[in-house]
Symmetry: none
Amino acid sequence: MPHYERVEKVRLLVVDDDPPIADLVATVARYEGWQAITANSGEEALRLAAEFHPDIVVLDLMLPDLDGFGVLDRLRGAGTMVPVVFLTARDGVADRVAGLTRGGDDYLVKPFAVEELMARLRTVLRRSAGPGFQRSVLRVADLMMDEDTREVRRGDKLLTLTPTEYEVLRYLMRKSPTVLTKAQILDHVWEYGFGGRSNVVELVVSRLRRKLDDTGTPLIHTVRGFGYVIRQAAE
Amino acid sequence: MPHYERVEKVRLLVVDDDPPIADLVATVARYEGWQAITANSGEEALRLAAEFHPDIVVLDLMLPDLDGFGVLDRLRGAGTMVPVVFLTARDGVADRVAGLTRGGDDYLVKPFAVEELMARLRTVLRRSAGPGFQRSVLRVADLMMDEDTREVRRGDKLLTLTPTEYEVLRYLMRKSPTVLTKAQILDHVWEYGFGGRSNVVELVVSRLRRKLDDTGTPLIHTVRGFGYVIRQAAE
DNA sequence: CCGCAGCTGTCAAAAAGCTGTCGTACATCT
DNA sequence: AGATGTACGACAGCTTTTTGACAGCTGCGG
């Protein structure tokens, strides 16, 4: 299912002092087939990095001891060029991070949506794999989504999606032809901690359908009492 | 019968302060050939987890001492990455759980149907078994059920089932060619504590037959005075 | 050929899903 | 700063589907 070619499992090190968050990320990654370990402090992170040799690191900036920047410096100081994706608080040090995100690194603001984090990790990995990296394009029937350009087309028609619509569609496409429950969609696409108990998912699906099923046959199907799938109509 | 490959028995730890519920789950699991133990408090759960090394945990959120979240934290703190399926009251802390379940752990609302719980446990186990996990497809004669896409076909014909029909059929197929009593079906597919003492099972079977026996030879057979089976032919 | 288990049509209540409207928040442009 | 536009999600009304109670009928097995 992964779209970057790799023989071995991706090795991910997650560094966050909040264990639930670190677990969350590690668990999602494992479900993608990755190998993930967590560290809850800067020192622990450095120790684990040295022996685990991660392919990518998720690094919270706010750590009890050494902060995220410090960890990065010492990683680099040790000669590791492993790419890093930072996590920062909403109104944190966004600008300083931005400065650090060249060279394939990236950052995300907390609270984030799980799918978005995974998408960024995949992108960073893909880019850091060297020049001539593969474009990532998802296809379902005549629907196409280019994850690099964020272009979405149904046949020839270019669609304009809002960020939420885009994320929901991507998740559906990634998992196609598996049926997803509304809860799964909510849990993966919305930020963790989102309280919205309303019908947001239905609403976004409704809007999505209007945009993409308006040309051609319906692609997003309701599985009553269960959830949604995107796939070519099964006869 | 399990569809994920495993040489040893699955080891399940059930944590619920209501002994009947914990036992119910453990019993069903044992009947599936699993090895199951129960704990009625958070502390006991941690103690048992340490020595039993479960492959999966069913964890009620409402516990007398340490609550479900606390248990999870301490499990994780001890470095256990065992997957967890939570149980919560109907309009309890569903949203808080959501935050924890994004990873791939799952949750179910009480009162639940036993088959649904087992299905989720199987799914979680299957996914956490690593990348490239097997699709789960059940077959009986020319009837096929794909548990991921929820597609059900008789020969080429795609069937559209309601949630209840789907669950009853899945249970029958899973147990095929064993004959199941109406009581067993009722107990496994409907939520525990379901009051309906009417002929619901007969009704659903009737509807199922109309949908799937309409093409080809009958597959669901009545064993008069006992129950139902699904299988090729009753010779 | 009788009696009872099983089958199924009908129907009303409940659940699930869809979508229009609107207020708020945030970003962008002038 | 003010104006304009876009995105999001709460809410509510409405439609469709599902479910199970009830009751009468069927037909199996003795």
